[in-house]
């Protein structure tokens, strides 16, 4: 298209764009998998994970062993039995309990020796042996914490009943902001919104450009007056509309079904999600334009989207605890910025000092990905 023609075609440009968007929508409707990606996948994944994923352990199976049962041992065990954190299992001998731990039937053993009652009355106190299965270190720590809690309650009760006071010089008063009951769903569900949106955005577009190259339909489009920019714009608009539908659905489910509080402004969430969607769609288009072959594009999408977004976005693993090099790598993960934004907007509210830098990063990523797509597509033309 030469420069002299441009002004006269401006009105036609809009019409061409409308035509291109219409073409994309027709293609979307004819292969129902795009609609499934935008609407079925988010519902399916969010419901499954919203209910399925939890880091809050209760009814932890624990073996209780008293070598010489006595009122004292029963009194101590009662503090574990009355807690909903434990599913206690009484074992006769330590060997039986160890066997249960090895077979995975219990996560921990609480063992009181034969002289427990006697040692309790000595000045240096009685040891209580606790063995936890350390394979799942996080659950092991939680279990350990629960046992310490039960032990602390028992100590307080016992000393109080004897008219003494338990020496605890410094007492902790803990305040957990933004999620006072420490419900893991409140932080996992917003994170899942980000992960699911990454998948929607990328999957919608990952094969789109490659498919047109492979089938030769892109060349067919290029002999029409439509420019490459218009063709790309047509695709972005169509999939953006589809992705926005998916996004509204996931946010609606998070708030409506999982009762995650949305403390920030909805319009801000919408704006950030749109930026994120643009970046995710851009990533899909870039994969597609670089690979130019559906098979390879599909492979790159499988490798490059889900696991990095899942592990490196701060969704479950704390980015600050990663080595510096890996922290650097997380900066190229689009989901990272959006996870930070959604966790803040859902639980803390409109904190501009978090939202603005991350939103800017999303804008930059979107520009980079779309730029790559545009360059790669144009190059092929020349």
């Amino acid at each position: 298209m030469s420069a002299t023609q441009k002004p006269s075609l401006r009105g036609g440009g809009l019409m061409r764009l409308k035509g291109l968007v219409r073409k994309e929508f027709l293609q979307i409707v004819r292969d129902p998998s795009s609609i499934a990606i935008a609407f079925v996948m988010p519902i399916f994944l969010l419901v499954l994970f919203g209910y399925g994923v939890s880091l809050d352990a209760d009814h932890v199976p624990v073996a209780l062993v008293a070598e010489a049962p006595s009122p004292d041992t029963a009194d101590f065990f009662a503090s574990l039995e009355s807690s909903h954190y434990f599913a206690p299992l009484h074992a006769r001998t330590l060997a039986a309990a160890e066997q249960a731990l090895r077979e995975g039937r219990v996560n921990a053993i609480v063992h009181l020796r034969a002289n427990f009652a006697e040692q309790l009355r000595r000045s240096d106190g009685a040891p209580i042996q606790v063995i936890v299965n350390g394979v799942d270190a996080n659950t092991a720590r939680l279990t350990q914490g629960y046992i310490e809690g039960a032990w602390g309650n028992w100590l307080a009760r016992r000393t109080a009943s004897q008219g003494q006071e338990l020496a605890t010089p410094v007492q902790l008063e803990q305040r957990v902001w933004f999620n006072s009951e420490l419900r893991s769903r409140n932080y996992l569900v917003p994170g899942l919104v980000a992960i699911i949106m990454t998948l929607i955005g990328t999957l919608l577009t990952a094969l789109v450009m490659a498919r047109e190259w492979e089938r030769g339909t892109l060349e067919a489009l290029l002999v029409t007056p439509a420019s490459m920019t218009e063709i790309l714009l047509g695709k972005i608009i169509a999939y953006f509309v589809l992705g926005t539908g998916g996004m509204l659905l996931t946010v609606g489910l998070a708030v409506g079904l999982f009762e995650v509080p949305l403390r920030g402004a909805f319009w801000l969430l919408w704006a950030c999600a749109s930026l994120f969607l643009l970046a995710a769609l851009g990533m899909g288009l870039a994969i597609s334009a670089v690979a130019r072959n559906q098979f390879v594009a599909g492979q790159v999408a499988i490798i490059g989207t889900f696991l990095p977004a899942f592990l490196l976005s701060g969704f479950i693993f704390d980015i600050d605890s990663m080595p510096t090099v890996v922290q650097g790598i997380t900066h190229v993960i689009v989901a990272r910025y959006f996870v930070s934004i959604v966790q803040t907007l859902f639980l803390a509210g409109d904190v501009w000092s978090v939202v603005l830098p991350n939103a800017f990063a999303l804008l930059l990523m979107a520009a980079i990905f779309l730029g790559i797509t545009w360059r790669k597509s144009r190059k092929r033309l020349e």
Partner: protein
């Protein structure tokens, strides 16, 4: 027949490896991903940024602060002098923890024998918050023990002596790296299998394959073996990285681990081919791959234990092959397990693999467009 089959396998490998980009995608990323994810996946906090707001001038508060500053996991980034400084710092995630010591801390501790300190934690990531709170509690407990000993206060009548089996230092990396091996193997089988049949359908070459003398079972074998072989080679490579680079102890039986890997590859390849034979276009194959892979990872017990899931979801996890493979990996690596303990994990994967492969080969013939 064997020659026919060999020719087919040869063709599948060519289709998989002739494109240099495809070759790259298959070999390099899993290694890099294991290295990166191996470092990323840990629940151990190494750098808890905290702010101190100390209104007390006494010696006791200085001792407590020294305990925090001396802890390797804590890193003081701010010292506050007014209440109003707390909220902005926490809001913008500059600190995870704020330690607040009131003006009467030392005086209370001396006169009444007890005083309280306030800890504010950012709960946006509730798991990180819980872990940070545990760290704080451990420091305060240590402080208390020393204070009790130094001031001749009565010790509690009983104390806990905790030991952790299989992972004495509770390193969460030892838990996650075997899990990552399982996830990457799953990704590889999906890469090789999920799009193959769909691609041939789209290009029309699958119909040609069906009119050759090859029986559907042979076509299936030809499609399954490359995934199996690539998975084995790559599984071996990442096992080496896990043991030699990350030094995760491999205590159990290696044959049991490989038997587990083989059965897991069987079930993964089966699922991938089933998806592929259901899909008419590669777009559908890709969607299917994700609809299988994402739940398979999240419901496998990789990061969140299956025991914490509701009963219905726990039942769903029974058809997730990764669930069984993760148990095998962790038990063989850390608990030193052999065949005897793992039988309960082997047969479900064999069933999942067998059923999905049979379904896939049936679909080869019966789903023609």
């Amino acid at each position: 027949m064997l020659i026919r089959l060999l020719a087919l396998i040869h063709k599948e490998f060519l289709a998989l490896l002739k494109d240099p980009r495809s070759r790259m995608v298959l070999i390099v990323p899993p290694m890099i991903q294991l290295l990166v994810f191996g470092y990323a996946a840990t629940f151990d906090l190494k750098d808890i940024s905290y702010a101190l707001y100390n209104e007390d001038r006494g010696a006791a508060s200085r001792e407590l602060v020294a305990a925090f500053d001396g802890a390797p996991a804590f890193h003081r980034v701010a010292t506050l002098h007014a209440e109003g400084e707390v909220a902005p710092l926490v809001d913008k995630r500059a600190v995870l923890v704020v330690l607040r010591i009131g003006p009467r801390f030392s005086a209370d501790l001396q006169s009444r024998g007890s005083a309280s300190v306030q800890v504010i934690v950012d709960g946006r990531n509730s798991n990180t918050a819980l872990i940070a709170l545990n760290y704080v509690r451990a420091i305060v407990d240590g402080f208390n023990r020393e204070w009790i000993a130094a001031h001749g206060l009565p010790a509690p009548p009983a104390r806990l002596e905790t030991r952790a089996w299989f992972n004495p230092n509770l390193e969460s990396r030892w838990f996650f790296i075997p899990g990552i091996i399982g996830m990457l193997t799953l990704v590889t089988t999906m890469l090789v299998t999920a799009l193959t049949v769909a691609r041939e359908r789209e290009q029309g070459t699958f119909d040609q394959l069906l009119v050759t003398p090859l029986r559907p079972g042979e076509i299936l074998l030809g499609k399954a073996l490359p995934g199996f072989i690539v998975g084995m080679v790559q599984g071996t490579a990442i096992l080496l990285i896990a043991t030699l680079w990350f030094k995760v102890p491999l205590l159990g039986s290696l044959p049991a681990l490989y038997a587990g890997l083989a059965l897991f590859l069987l079930s993964g390849v089966g699922a991938g081919l089933l998806i592929s034979s259901l899909a008419v276009t590669q777009q559908q194959g890709l969607l299917g791959a994700f609809l299988f892979m994402v739940p398979a990872v999240i419901l496998s017990g990789f990061a969140t234990p299956i025991a914490n899931m509701p009963t219905v979801v726990q039942t769903i996890t029974l058809i997730d092959p990764l669930r069984y493979f993760l148990v095998i990996l962790r038990k063989v690596f850390l608990e030193g397990a052999g065949f005897d303990v793992l039988m309960g994990q082997f047969w479900p994967m064999a069933v999942i693999g067998g059923v999905s492969l049979i379904l896939a080969s049936w679909l080869f013939r019966h789903r023609l467009y």
